[in-house]
C-alpha cells in the first residue's frame, strides 16, 4: 500500500491548508473556472438548442458542430489561445477553451430534450389554443428538462476533469499538485491531486444525478410509476 497510503498522508497533512497553494484555494479556483465556463456555455448552447428543438430546423448543423467541437484537443487549444491572446489574457484563453468543451453536451441536451417529446402532446397543446411561446414555456421546456439536466451533467463532468490543465498555465486548480509533483518526482502529491479531482467529479455526478431525477415533472413521474408499476423510465441519460 505504498503509494496510496502516501497519497492519503499527503492529502491529510496540515500543510495542505497553508500558503498560496492550499487545497481550499485550489478547490475554489477549480470550481470557479468550471462554473463560469459551464454558465457561459449554457448561455450560448441552451437557447440555441431550444430553438433547434422547437422549430425542428438546423439540426444537422448542430450535430456537425457538436461532433467537430468534441474532437478539439483542449490542451492544445488552450496553449494556442494563450499564445494568441498573450500572457496577460490567460484566464480568458482558458475559459474560452472550457466553454468550447462544454457546448456540445449542452447543445445536445437542449435539443434532444425537446425532440424526445411526443408530437401528440405538442398537437394537443396547440389544439387547446396555446401560442408557440406558450407551447414552449409550458409544455416543451418542462418535458425536456430531464434530458437538458443530463446534458448539463455531462458537460459539468467533462469540464471538471479538464480544468486540471488550467494549472499548466498558472491558473491554479486541483491540477496544480499533479503539474508540480511530476518534475519534483513526488508521486504521493501527484496521486493526491488526482484523487481530489476524481472525488470532485464523483460528488458532482451524484448531485447532478439527483437533480436529473428531480427534474422530471411530477405529473410524468406519478403517471409512469402508476402505469409501469415500478421504476420511472422517464429519465433517460442525455450523454449524446
Amino acid at each position: 500500500m505504498n503509494l496510496f497510503t502516501d497519497a492519503l498522508a499527503w492529502l491529510f497533512s496540515p500543510e495542505r491548508l497553508d500558503g498560496p497553494y492550499a487545497l481550499p484555494i485550489l478547490l475554489g479556483q477549480h470550481l470557479y473556472y468550471t462554473i463560469v465556463s459551464v454558465l457561459i456555455a449554457a448561455a450560448i448552447a441552451v437557447p440555441a438548442g431550444w430553438i433547434i428543438g422547437h422549430t425542428g430546423r438546423g439540426r444537422e448543423i448542430a450535430v456537425a458542430i457538436s461532433g467537430a467541437a468534441r474532437a478539439i484537443p483542449s490542451f492544445g487549444l488552450m496553449i494556442l489561445l494563450v499564445l494568441l491572446l498573450g500572457v496577460l489574457r490567460v484566464p480568458e484563453a482558458a475559459i474560452i477553451t472550457f466553454v468550447i468543451l462544454a457546448i456540445p453536451s449542452l447543445l445536445a441536451g437542449a435539443y434532444t430534450g425537446l425532440e424526445a417529446i411526443d408530437r401528440r402532446t405538442i398537437d394537443a397543446a396547440r389544439a387547446v389554443g396555446m401560442t408557440g411561446w406558450q407551447v414552449f414555456w409550458r409544455v416543451e421546456l418542462p418535458l425536456g428538462l430531464p434530458l437538458l439536466v443530463g446534458g448539463i451533467r455531462a458537460a459539468l463532468l467533462q469540464v471538471i476533469a479538464t480544468v486540471t490543465i488550467a494549472a499548466y498555465v498558472n491558473l491554479g486548480g486541483l491540477g496544480w499538485p499533479i503539474i508540480q509533483g511530476i518534475p519534483l518526482q513526488r508521486f504521493d502529491q501527484v496521486l493526491g491531486g488526482a484523487i481530489l479531482v476524481a472525488l470532485l467529479a464523483l460528488i458532482a455526478d451524484l448531485l447532478m444525478a439527483l437533480a436529473q431525477h428531480a427534474a422530471v415533472p411530477t405529473g410524468i413521474r406519478v403517471q409512469q410509476t402508476r402505469r409501469v408499476g415500478g421504476r420511472a423510465r422517464a429519465t433517460a441519460s442525455a450523454t449524446a
Binding site: M1, N2, L3, D6, G86, V87, I179, Q180, I182, P183
Partner: protein, 306 residues
C-alpha cells in the same frame, strides 16, 4: 428495491474497487519508472546511440556530439527529442541510448534530491557519486544551462540591482516566476529568503516566463543561462555570490561500457564549449532558423574539431 441482481452487482463492484486499491498500492513508488528494456549495449559494437531531450538547445549539443563522433569514424544512431528525464533516463540506464548531453546540477537533483552542493566543481563531484554504475559522467563544459534570477535591465537600473540580495531594496512586492517545481526547490523563494533575506512571491509562469517578465506581470524570472533572450532582449541575470543557485554545466553522460572509447572525442568538444556558446547557438536556432545539423557543423568547424 434491492433485488438480488442489484445486490450482486453492487458486491462485484465493491470487490473490484477494493481490489484495484490494493493493487495500486503494490506498485513501486515511482509509477513513471520503466523496467530496463533487456540487455545493455546494442547489436553492433561500434554503433553509438546519441539521445537528446525534447529541447532545441539540448538537441544542438547532441548533434555536435554525434557529428564529432562520426568525424572520428564511429557509426552513430541519433535518437533525439525523447522527452523529459522520466522518459529518457530509463533508456540511458538500460543502455538503449549510449550518450546524452545533460546538465550537472539538474541531473544531480534528479538522482539525489537532498544534495546540497551548488558550485560547479562540487556539483560535478556529487553527480559522479550519485550516478548509477551503468552511467559515467565525462568532463563537464564551461557552458551551462542553469537557473537564474533575471530582471529586465530597466528594473535593475531603476532599483539599483546587481546581486540577488539587492532585491530586498525594492519597496513594491516582488514576484518570482518560473517552472511550477521552482516553488519547492532549495533555490526557489524559500532559499532566497534563507540565503539572501529576500521576500518573494511565486507565480508558476512555466513556458511563458520570459513573456511574463517582459510584460511586467512578474519582476524576477528564472530564465536559463542558455536562453537566446540574453542576447536578443534587454534582460540581465542577477549575481549569486552566495551560490544559492545550483550550478548546471553541460556534461556528457555515457554508458559505462562505451565511455572509454568515446571519452577523447567528447572531452575535446566539452573543452571548447564555452559559457557564451549555448546562447549563440540558441540564437542561430530561434532567430536565424538554422537546422540543428547546420548549427552543429558550423560550430565544430569554427572550433577546429572537424
Amino acid at each position: 428495491m434491492f433485488t438480488a441482481r442489484k445486490s450482486r452487482i453492487a458486491l462485484v463492484g465493491a470487490a473490484a474497487l477494493a481490489a484495484s486499491l490494493v493493487l495500486a498500492g503494490c506498485s513501486n513508488s515511482n509509477p513513471l519508472e520503466e523496467e530496463p528494456a533487456g540487455e545493455g549495449s546494442g547489436e553492433g559494437g561500434d554503433t553509438i546511440v546519441v539521445g537528446s531531450q525534447a529541447y532545441y538547445s539540448n538537441e544542438i549539443v547532441a548533434e555536435i556530439y554525434a557529428q564529432a563522433l562520426e568525424a572520428e569514424g564511429f557509426t552513430v544512431e541519433k535518437k533525439f527529442n525523447i522527452g523529459q528525464r522520466d522518459a529518457y533516463i530509463p533508456e540511458l540506464e538500460s543502455g538503449a541510448v549510449d550518450l546524452f548531453p545533460e546538465y550537472t546540477g539538474n541531473l544531480l537533483e534528479f538522482y539525489d534530491p537532498e544534495a546540497t552542493a551548488t558550485s560547479p566543481e562540487d556539483v560535478y563531484a556529487a553527480l559522479q557519486e550519485a550516478l548509477p554504475e551503468e552511467l559515467t559522467a565525462l568532463d563537464y563544459a564551461e557552458a551551462s544551462d542553469q537557473d537564474t534570477y533575471t530582471v529586465t535591465k530597466e528594473f535593475a537600473e531603476a532599483n539599483g540591482l546587481t546581486t540577488i540580495a539587492d532585491l530586498a531594496k525594492v519597496t513594491t512586492p516582488v514576484t518570482l516566476g518560473g517552472a511550477p517545481e521552482l516553488e519547492q526547490r532549495p533555490y526557489g523563494p524559500a532559499g532566497a529568503k534563507e540565503v539572501y533575506g529576500v521576500d518573494l512571491q511565486f507565480s508558476a509562469t512555466g513556458e511563458t516566463t520570459l513573456e511574463s517578465l517582459l510584460a511586467g506581470e512578474i519582476q524576477v524570472a528564472d530564465i536559463y543561462t542558455a536562453a537566446p533572450a540574453f542576447q536578443t532582449e534587454e534582460i540581465v541575470a542577477l549575481e549569486d555570490p552566495e551560490n544559492l543557485i545550483l550550478a548546471s554545466n553541460v556534461v556528457p553522460i555515457a554508458s559505462s561500457d562505451v565511455a572509454d572509447e568515446i571519452a577523447d572525442v567528447i572531452n575535446a568538444v566539452s573543452a571548447e564549449l564555452g559559457a557564451d556558446d549555448l546562447v549563440a547557438l540558441g540564437v542561430q536556432s530561434t532567430e536565424d532558423q538554422m537546422s540543428p545539423d547546420d548549427i552543429a557543423t558550423q560550430w565544430l568547424e569554427d572550433a577546429g574539431l572537424i
